[in-house]
């Protein structure tokens, strides 16, 4: 029986992370629902959902893994439908439900293919045996199916809409989803590297979808008007980056990203109603930012080459973006240096620590250059769109981005057609009967 469970590889790190999150989120929900008549229902689904996540992390058998994967999504569905009288919440939950089934189908196909090739249902044995076999068509198919499952689970464009719209659920659900459950796509890829990392088509698919998602979602995020929706877009972008890092073979960075992002995002959601005055970013000269950015990028590339023997194109570009931002936002040299140094040393230390848990794969140079190119393009368009509203092109792009590039409308229409979200409500309003939400009705 114990063969069905394992604690190898990155699993201890994830267990600790989920344990901390579970404690925080459950304690938070308990207090959040203090006088709510449905407190126990909420706590029950929350606890069950977290338990399923723990089982998934520990599972070493395909059946258990799959069962846990499906139950997480079904339990989450109950939490997303916590207020069934809210049309938009129901619509979002339906959309998520349909996409989750797609993701599961891909996962199921992948697992079946791996089982077929290796003849064992145990994950560790299957992965060990598959890395010894020559790469055939079946394995490519399995790899692509795994990548698709992860991309859908992590809400990558253009199948991201549900993640944005499920902020209709109570805050602790958002925290659980954005800090915990959404990472499972990353977990899936990190524990199955032997299957997909030898398939070039799968890697290119993963990296290209992820990088485009990551960049667009980040640009869209900055055009949105409400705090929770901004956070949701930010998650979509951050998941894009995590998948990108996985695809390129920076497993240490991906692991670090997973953990750090979870902590940050859980905190951000749980403190979402703390009113604080946030100053808007200033308009600034585009050429200056770009020069500073390229300067930093060159420096980072050089330093990486010197220290590690490879230029690390993607991490260097990302690091240069932060450094340029610090540089442009502060106006005292002391502060700039201090903060940059603090950031660099924290970053180096954490990457080193993560590197001890998981080794990197050798990196496909052409792919990384393509990705780094796109990221550079993203940085420049960000400064163009968000800091120089005086240009007409900036204004046009801003409006399109704000509308989410009209990517989600087709899916919404399809979901409504397939599964109407207002059956009762709709007929009552047709008959001109006033409808009051359940929440309010209970008390009469």
């Amino acid at each position: 029986m114990f063969d069905w469970l394992t604690i190898s590889g990155i699993r201890p790190v994830l267990l600790i992370l989920v344990g901390v999150l579970a404690m925080v989120v459950l304690r938070y929900s308990w207090r959040n629902f203090r006088l709510d008549p449905r407190r126990s229902v909420f706590m029950r689904y929350m606890t069950l959902c977290l338990t399923a996540v723990v089982v998934l992390i520990l599972s070493n058998h395909m059946l258990l893994f799959f069962a846990a994967w499906v139950s997480i999504s079904l339990l989450l569905h109950q939490l997303l439908m916590f207020y069934p009288e809210r049309d938009r919440a129901v619509l979002a939950a339906h959309k998520k439900f349909i996409l989750a089934r797609c993701s599961e189908t891909f996962l199921g196909i992948a697992l079946v293919l791996v089982y077929w090739q290796t003849g064992t249902g145990y994950l560790d044995a299957a992965l060990a045996s598959i890395s010894q076999q020559p790469v055939g068509l079946l394995q490519h198919a399995a790899a692509i199916a795994l990548v698709m499952a992860a991309l859908i689970k992590c809400a990558q464009l253009p199948l991201h809409g549900w993640l944005i719209q499920v902020v209709e659920a109570p805050t602790p659900v958002s925290a659980l989803l954005h800090a915990g459950i959404i990472n499972l796509g990353g977990l899936l890829l990190l524990v199955t590297t032997p299957v997909w990392s030898v398939s070039t088509p799968a890697i290119w698919l993963l990296c290209l979808v992820a990088v485009v998602s990551c960049c667009l979602a980040a640009l869209i995020m900055a055009t949105r008007i409400s705090i929770k929706v901004r956070l949701a877009w930010s998650t979509s972008a951050q998941m894009g980056l995590m998948l990108l890092e996985i695809g390129l073979g920076y497993y240490d960075l991906a692991l670090l990203h997973l953990v750090a992002h979870s902590v940050y995002k859980a905190h951000a959601f749980l403190s979402v109603s703390e009113v604080a005055y946030v100053k808007q970013s200033e308009a600034r000269s585009l050429p200056r930012v770009v020069v500073v950015f390229f300067g930093f990028q060159l420096a980072c590339l050089g330093a990486a080459l010197l220290l590690t023997g490879s230029p690390k194109w993607l991490p260097s570009a990302l690091l240069a973006m932060v450094l340029a931002t610090i540089w442009m936002n502060l106006n005292r040299w002391g502060w700039r240096l201090l903060l940059s140094l603090a950031l660099l040393s924290a970053y180096a230390l954490l990457v080193w620590a993560a590197g001890n848990v998981m080794d990197n794969r050798s990196i496909d140079l052409a792919l990384e250059l393509a990705v780094a190119g796109i990221v550079n393009l993203f940085a420049i368009s960000y400064w163009l769109i968000h800091h120089t509203p005086q240009y007409a092109i900036s204004q046009r792009w801003f409006i399109s981005l704000n509308a989410g590039l009209y990517l989600d409308e087709w899916l919404t229409r399809f979901v409504l057609w397939l599964w109407p979200s207002h059956p009762i409500h709709y007929y009552q309003s047709r008959n001109n009967v006033a409808v009051k939400g359940k929440l309010y009705e209970q008390t009469r």
Partner: protein, 741 residues
Amino acid sequence: MSKLANQAQLAVARVAPQWPLPQWVAVNPLWEYRQQPLTEVAAQWRYCGNVALTMSPEFYQQHYEQGAIEPALVTDDMRRQLTQLSDTPRWQNISHLVDRYQQRRRKMLWHDEVVFQISQSCGLFMQFPRRFQGQGKDSSLYQHWLTISRADRGIETLMDEADLNELFAELPDSPDALFEACEQLWFGSAPSAAAEHYCQALIIDVLGWASALSYQDRQHGSQWLLELLAIRMAWDYLLWQLADRTNQAVFEPIKQDFEQQLRDSDDAVAAIIAQQQSLWQWQRAYEQSQLSALKFKPAADADRNDSPQLQAVFCIDVRSDRYRRALAQAGREHGMTVNSKGFAGFFGVPLGREQGDQQIPHVPGLLQPSFFVRQQSPDKSFKDLLSRSFNSPASMFTGVEALGLAKLGELLKGIKGSLDTAQFDADAEIYHNGRAVTCEQLAELCAQALTGMQFTQFAEHVVLVGHGAKHSNNAQRAGMNCGACGGQTGALSARVLCHLLNQSAIRQRLSEHGFAIPQATQFYAALHETVTDDIVWLSEDVPAQVKQTFASASAQLQQQQPNRATRANHWAELRPEWGLAGNQALFFGNAGRLADDAVQGRSFLHDYDEALDADGSLLTALLSAPGLVANWINWQYYTAVTDPQRMGSGNKLLHNRVANDIGVFEGNGGDLRLGLAWQSVHDGSDYVHKPVRLSVIIEASEPRIHKALAQAGDFNQLYQNQWIDVYRLNPRGELCRLQHQ
């Protein structure tokens, strides 16, 4: 100007403002309807927006059966009528009609999407002023919306209507042209009441944004609310044409219904007024039953300390009531004669705080601050910088990887409650009209405040007690603070006035104004922390005996309701305290008249002594200032209970701050929400706030009250039109209705 444009102007003028979250204070959402009888307004709102201003028949029935409504107040007629109420007619905007007649079971509903789209456009406009408000207050919200809608490629897809973009392109380019076009289309021969009801119905559809923009318009002199109405009307205009163009089978019934209701709208409102009559009788019976728990002593038995050792001035807030009674008790135990007074929590000092380019008022919503304290804007802390680096697309990626774990500590501990105790240095300057004030101006200011508080003698210790609520992570936290201080805590006002009254130069000049403050008298500033009932001392060197008396009052209250510290310090707490829930009466008189067994924490207590108000001008002022503030608070709570969906801001679990904290959404979108959250008025099993209109009780003679009423215009309108009730407290301790003159 067209007739319709005229009606639109009138309709937008009747929207009450809603303050942005950092200054979120209670507002009577129907304030601008005070010239009209309440029954009429209630019928209009029911008709135009399905908004309820009374409770449901079941509510009254239930309370009657439980004995919460006194049987003596209920007639057989009332009971019979309660069971015979039927559905009332309801105005349908065109978006509603399209949803009704078009087959949209498997599609997005128009009405939902229209509100969503307008709401997002407004949010964008307010969130990015540099981008979308190029011409400042003259920037056009309508143009902004038109640009976005014309560029949009999503709604056509979403709604499955191919002609939409063409129709957007054909929309009139200005609000005036749009009103003109709509008038020709619909209102050629319609009675003018129809246009009025139509404009009102459109506004109620987007009431949250309307209220927020009403605030903006009042602050900046913009016209955005009118443009919002034009946008909402443009959507109806567009849907009408869309139906006409694409589907006659749908268009014909819509046209018929709409034209029918244009003719019928006046009669419909009249019918609702007649039908609601019995509900209002029940409401009155309920209010009177509730009021009977508030008992008074005969004048001869009133507590009166003529030479107290300690005087304490509290805000009139209903939460002060319990503290003042506990303090009197504590005084008796500690052998200290205590006299407490009730006065608006800004202590009559119209202060504001200047921070960088921001001006934060510390006055009631109806006033403008005229004296300013300048303060450094708080240093950009490491925490701020961290949060910002996570929120900017350029820095968030590596920023989160390197620094995301820095949030771990706070994630584990949670955010503790915070309380703004304000800073005011002894040598800080106060500014008036941009110039430093003179000593004489300050003395005048103090004299005004002391007159208002009716100080005739000064005890050795005088404590000015502001109030504020310690908690965290609440978008509407300003609503828990002092409403008379513009949603801030009362700390700054208490500190400043104390500082001034302790200065010998000012005391000297005050004696010229008739206030002889003895040498021995010292003023102290304190803050009543309302979540835990603790006292936070803002002055140093407070005598131990004074501190002890207050500490024992706090201890007494904490014993009655233990374990409140967790509520103040838990970041997930949705109900740290009940705020002003339960408010039902405003008493102008000697608080010592309250009977010992009178219900606690449900009255605003404002000190008033008729003998010291020779010409009655003080009573007029009280009715016109605290009287109105209490009405605003009372009606905010009242409407949040009668109609939590439309006049409340919904579930706090779903609150989502919008557009630089102009307000909250409930969930993902929809209209901006208005008013109090569900959790602010309901404890999960029952309403904590009892929906009653404010009873203003005055301890004064009948002619004096009539004279003051006649001079207090707004208050008198509220009274004449049944928005509030007025009683006289007679010397025997009975509440008497005013005789009509």
